[in-house]
């Protein structure tokens, strides 16, 4: 009886400690978001004097002003378009390439895969000048396609690496049974590999949605016309050379993070379901 009590107290203490740590981590993660949202409701003057998380006189109109001043009507939908196009292209091409690297035999397979992996070491800004020269020669500067293709290319290395690792773990027997059911290589990719790789694809989607949604340097390089620019261009309106309109900037940033939070929440469900499904299958 006494020992039961002891273990109950011990477990309770452990849970209290665990929840305290988790709450602290959650608070540390949420604080910047709350601060951003609170700052979005202040004025340019009060942002430097009122350090409360939520101002006494909230300026909700900042969101409307930010949306109109930053021309989000154009940039927001541009970013939606670029994100969807890049992520679709990336998932399609990288999953096919990863399946080929994992399941097909062809000359120099390993060397080619290594080359793809090496691409992860070269950040996109390091390729800017060469990329600009290439796109100029292809007549793709200042076009949407010229912006989408390099981003699909930039995301390939990590996506192929992730997906290949996932495809490698699919048992050969499953592939054989699919073949007995009449699937050819493409059928195995479409009906077997792709559905099983949903968790890995979700990771690829989340990583790349975030990267494309926040991308700005490449857009600055490739686009000249304002109407083609993505969302971060709108935020620049609030950042002067020496003076930043923090309240409006925070309102603008609050607007921009909403879609990415939604994508994250949706995709997170797939990752968790994928992991648990795998665990049950053993």
């Amino acid at each position: 009886m006494r020992s039961q009590m002891f273990y109950r107290v011990k477990r309770g203490a452990f849970l209290i400690l665990a929840y305290t740590v988790l709450l602290a981590v959650a608070a540390a993660c949420l604080f910047p978001l709350l601060w951003m949202f609170g700052s979005a409701l202040k004025t340019q003057e009060t942002i430097f004097s009122d350090f409360s998380l939520f101002p006494q006189q909230p300026h909700w109109e900042n969101f409307v002003v930010a949306w109109t001043q930053a021309n989000f009507n154009t940039y927001f939908w541009n970013s939606v378009f670029y994100t969807v196009a890049v992520v679709l292209g990336l998932v399609l091409f990288s999953s096919m390439a990863a399946f080929a690297f994992s399941r097909l035999d062809f000359p120099f397979k390993n060397a080619l895969f290594l080359l793809f992996v090496c691409m992860m070491m070269i950040p996109l800004p390091g390729q800017f000048v060469a990329l600009y020269v290439l796109l100029t020669n292809l007549n793709l500067v200042n076009t949407r396609l010229g912006y989408i293709l390099p981003q699909i290319d930039a995301g390939q290395a990590l996506a192929i690496f992730l997906l290949k690792t996932f495809f490698d773990k699919i048992p050969k027997d499953l592939e054989d049974s699919a073949r007995i059911d009449g699937c050819n290589k493409l059928g195995i990719y479409r009906h077997l590999a792709l559905p099983l790789a949903k968790p890995a694809i979700a990771v690829v989607v989340i990583f790349n949605c975030l990267a494309v949604w926040n991308e700005y340097l490449l857009a600055m390089l490739i686009f000249s016309e304002k109407k083609l620019m993505p969302l971060p261009r709108g935020l620049m309106v609030f950042q002067g050379t020496h003076l930043t309109e923090y309240a409006l900037l925070m309102a603008g940033v609050s607007i921009t993070v909403i879609p990415i939070i939604v994508v994250y929440l949706v995709m997170q469900k797939y990752i968790i379901s994928g992991i648990t499904a795998g665990a049950v299958k053993g």
């Binding site: 340019q44 003057e45 430097f48 004097s49 378009f81 969807v84 196009a85 679709l88 292209g89 399609l92 800004p125 800017f128 000048v129 990329l131 600009y132 020269v133 100029t136 007549n139 793709l140 500067v141 200042n142 076009t143 949407r144 396609l145 010229g146 912006y147 989408i148 293709l149 009449g182 050819n184 493409l186 059928g187 479409r190 009906h191 700005y216 340097l217 600055m220 390089l221 686009f223 000249s224 016309e225 304002k226 083609l228 620049m236 309106v237 950042q239 002067g240 050379t241 020496h242 003076l243 309109e245």
Partner: protein, 456 residues
């Protein structure tokens, strides 16, 4: 082929076509560019002059000026903003490689890089235009501002002598002071310190009143070097500084030691606010604007920044305190922002006409009123707000390292800034810094000699 396989191929094909359409349509819709000056595509609304800039705080005024210009002349000027400055610089460099620079652009780089652009043939020499009609255009500018755009005969970069840029605004760095805090400390708010002794005395009084003294972005080495340069110019004059850069006067010279020791004196007297050497300028500006520090060492842009942060801030401006009567007081400054004309542009003449118009008094006045930057046209400075007027008046004292025929090695400049930071926190003595700079300078000069010899 089974029906199942056909359906499967059909689905895959649809996905592929959808993606291709998505990209293709996007590609088509975005291609109506008017932004490649030497470009390969026809613009939707053709601009006569395309300008690339990075000044997000001035974009709205630039657009307004472009509209005015179109109304007056019928010429369409397209201002295109690329910010922040790093992204802008990337774009300019990449465009230079493909010879697709716009008609007018700015170069955000050191003089060395500016010289490279000129030598590569990307920047038009504006001397004939500036000196036409008895140098009418040239005379309109602050001399110091134009000096930043000028390469003189025998310059170290081997650039053909000439004027290669049009300054659109100017800047200098001085001391802002909070009049209310001065009064609170028992100081006369209308009598800012003129000499270094008075400056130290002010610092002591502020400290006694428990008020933070000087704030500035001294975690950024260039800002700490600005004040060191001011002191050095006042103490040694142009010739001795030139001799130092040339290598004829060592940093162990007593005058240089005196310059370094001034920072120690400021720290010992409590003039410097807590955490000065780790302070970024944004934080310093915020501290001063909130009335939490009495003095700020900041540039012309501070007028606009403080107005944005605290419109009620009651402040004045004073020159760097005088160290010596031997030479004039100096303030670090020169051109703020400037535009260059693309020497390869087919629209050079139109670009020139526009820049000439843009630097005339009414346009410069509009720029100053809307952006609180100091106009580069000295005639337009007569009718601006008092704080800016004080900055404008100080342009005659403006000095900048690029005005000298020699430049210091970047390693030496960095070591000086870091060394002064260490002097402030008491981790280095003035003598130790001087010895370090002497050794570094010798090392760099030897390296340069070896490079020259190898070049021969």
């Amino acid at each position: 082929m089974s029906g199942k396989a056909v359906r499967q191929y059909a689905r895959m094909s649809c996905a592929g076509i959808l993606l291709a359409m998505l990209c293709g349509i996007g590609g088509c819709s975005g291609s109506g560019s008017g932004t490649q000056p030497s470009g390969k595509k026809e613009p939707a609304k053709k601009a006569d002059v395309v300008v690339w800039h990075w000044m997000s705080d001035r974009d709205a005024v630039f657009q307004e000026l472009a509209k005015q210009y179109e109304g007056q002349t019928g010429q369409v000027v397209d201002f295109q903003l690329f910010a922040p400055s790093e992204a802008y610089s990337n774009k300019v460099r990449a465009s230079a490689q493909t010879k697709t620079l716009p008609d007018i652009f700015g170069i955000l780089a050191e003089t060395r890089d500016f010289a490279s652009f000129i030598k590569a043939g990307f920047v038009e020499n504006l001397t004939p235009a500036m000196e036409a009609d008895n140098s009418q255009w040239k005379k309109a500018f602050f001399e110091k501002a134009l000096a930043m755009e000028t390469f003189v005969e025998g310059n170290q970069f081997n650039v053909n002598p000439g004027i290669y840029g049009v300054p659109i605004d100017v800047m200098n760095i001085q001391f802002f002071y909070n009049k209310d805090l001065f009064a609170q400390a028992g100081l006369d708010p209308e009598k800012p310190p003129l000499t270094f002794e008075e400056f130290i005395a002010v610092g002591k009084k502020l400290k006694a009143a428990n008020i933070q003294g000087l704030v500035s972005g001294w975690s950024e080495i260039w800002m700490i070097n600005c004040l060191a340069d001011n002191f050095a110019w006042n103490l040694m004059g142009r010739d001795k500084i030139t001799a130092t850069l040339k290598g004829d006067v060592p940093y162990s010279d007593p005058d240089w030691i005196r310059v370094f020791s001034l920072f120690k004196e400021m720290q010992d007297a409590g003039v410097l606010a807590t955490g000065m050497i780790t302070m970024v300028n944004k934080h310093a500006e915020q501290t001063f604007a909130n009335g939490k520090a009495a003095i700020a060492f900041n540039g012309t842009w501070g007028v606009n920044v403080y107005r944005g942060m605290n419109p009620k801030l009651n402040y004045g401006v004073f020159l760097p305190p005088k160290i010596s009567d031997k030479y004039p007081v100096a303030v670090w400054g020169g051109a703020g922002s400037s535009f260059k004309i693309n020497a390869l542009s087919a629209q050079k003449e139109k670009a020139l006409q526009f820049l000439r118009w843009m630097t005339e008094v009414p346009q410069q006045k509009l720029l100053a009123d809307k952006t609180m930057n100091l106009p580069s046209n000295k005639e337009s400075a007569a009718d601006i707000i008092p704080a800016l007027k004080q900055f404008s008046a100080a342009m005659e004292y403006a000095v900048h390292p690029s005005q000298l025929p020699y430049s210091e090695f970047p390693r030496v400049v960095e070591a000086m800034g870091k060394g002064i930071q260490l002097i402030i926190i008491g981790s280095k003595t003035t003598q130790e810094l001087a010895a370090e700079l002497v050794a570094l300078k010798q090392e760099e000069m030897k390296r340069l000699e070896a490079k020259k010899a190898a070049g021969k």
